[in-house]
């Protein structure tokens, strides 16, 4: 049952003459949550970008068995569009016919009911983050790559992120999460970079 979602071997990456990781190996199977810890500049984001295929490492093999969802530092929201329109576009990108009701319930889940039709430029940093989190609610991807998903979120929203990851995990998904706030799940694995 524990299907491998991503398998990485001998991954090596150098940025600005600094070795971020050298012959790194990791595997995430379904139900796994892997936390990436490390100080700023230790390569957490770069590793996630490598895994997502957005950044080419200097060497190594990355085997992805399933579709993935990547949430980076930048929210991926156009500021002229509303959270609803942004989410609809995002669902469309994944070639999925998601009903407006599903989109609305995702927006309700992240607590943006009142702002669903407001352009994103009127939202605060935390609300932008929440709008981006709505993507997790509608995602069918088995592997989640989250880059500091809890930045600028209040306590309620942090609980919401934990809840989303827990649900995803119990549904057989896997998650790699770069974070400075510990997820505090039972049996999470930790990879410490720059140590």
């Amino acid at each position: 049952m524990n299907q491998s979602l991503i398998e990485v071997n001998e991954l090596t990456c150098t940025v600005a003459d600094q070795i971020l990781f050298d012959r790194l190996a990791l595997t995430v199977v379904s139900g796994d949550v892997l936390e990436l810890w490390g100080p700023n500049g230790s390569g957490k984001s770069t590793l996630l970008r490598c895994l997502a295929g957005l950044f080419e490492a200097d060497g190594g093999v990355i085997k992805r068995a399933v579709g993935l969802l990547y949430m980076g530092h930048r929210p991926g929201l156009n500021e002229l569009l509303s959270p609803f329109e942004n989410l609809r576009w995002c669902a469309g990108l994944q070639e999925r016919d998601v009903s407006p009701e599903t989109l609305l319930s995702a927006i309700h889940y992240v607590g943006l009911d009142r702002y669903k039709d407001e352009p994103c430029r009127t939202l605060s940093a935390g609300q932008m983050r929440r709008a981006a989190l709505a993507r997790l609610c509608i995602s069918k991807s088995r592997l989640w790559l989250l880059d500091e998903p809890m930045t600028s979120l209040d306590d309620d929203a942090v609980a919401l992120v934990r809840d989303l990851i827990a649900k995803h995990r119990s549904a057989g998904g896997g998650c790699i999460c770069a974070t400075h706030i510990k997820l505090e799940f039972p049996q999470t694995r930790v990879l410490e970079l720059g140590a």
């Binding site: 997502a52 295929g53 957005l54 950044f55 080419e56 930048r74 156009n78 569009l81 990108l93």
Partner: protein
């Protein structure tokens, strides 16, 4: 249809929401042409003769002006990452984006060009061919400009670099576009330049989205 429709609809919506920015190139087109009239003078013999060339050059600059923001904002807000992570080929998505962009930049310029032509005292017989060549040529400008915009997407304001990159590639479009208009003035057949424009359009629709896709992937490497 794939992600073509998804991108087209989104970008058209963004263009409508950002009206002021969208209107910039069109306003530039009208204003620059009107200044030309003041500079050269309406009673001059010169104006009707230079008119097709002037309309084409101004249309070309208007296209370049609007191209800069094609991928820049998507790069900055992270939407581009989501587009690139889409497992389907980027080709159709990029084409959808460019079509939406053309609909609010090249198309209005082509539609306004008869008015502009009358405004700058262009001979009436060239109006049909002017609109026709602009309808064929401005999509090529958008597609070629897209390559430059994708290459400079991660560079902040790459305005000058973009101009230097795409200007040489714009020149054939300019030559055949205004060349067709002059052939009408001289009473010659326009088949040659028009066929060239069609060939350029077919070539750039087929090849430019691939180049743009590759450049966008490159722009992610910080």
């Amino acid at each position: 249809m794939g992600n073509f429709g998804v991108q087209f609809r989104r970008d058209l919506l963004v263009a409508i929401r950002g009206r002021t920015e969208t209107a910039n190139p069109i306003a530039f087109f009208v204003l620059a042409l009107s200044l030309f009239v003041f500079a050269v003078g309406t009673d001059s013999e010169t104006l009707p003769r230079v008119a097709p060339g002037v309309v084409w050059v101004v249309a070309l600059f208007a296209a370049m002006l609007s191209t800069e923001n094609l991928f820049h904002r998507d790069h900055d807000d992270g939407s581009l990452e989501l587009m690139l992570l889409d497992s389907r080929p980027l080709f159709l998505g990029v084409l959808g984006k460019l079509l939406a962009h053309w609909c609010v930049s090249g198309l209005p310029v082509a539609i306004l060009s008869p008015l502009a032509a009358v405004f700058i005292n262009a001979p009436f017989e060239i109006i049909t061919i002017l609109v026709g060549t602009l309808l064929l040529g401005t999509p090529v400008l958008t597609l070629i400009g897209g390559i430059g915009a994708a290459l400079t997407a991660g560079l902040g304001r790459g305005g000058l670099l973009l101009a230097v990159l795409v200007m040489p590639l714009y020149i054939p479009v300019l030559i055949f576009g205004s060349g067709a208009c002059y052939r009408v003035l001289d009473g010659a057949t326009v088949t040659g330049p028009v066929l060239w424009l069609i060939a350029l359009l077919a070539g750039s629709i087929t090849l430019a989205p691939f180049a743009i896709g590759a450049a966008l992937r490159g722009s992610q490497e910080y």
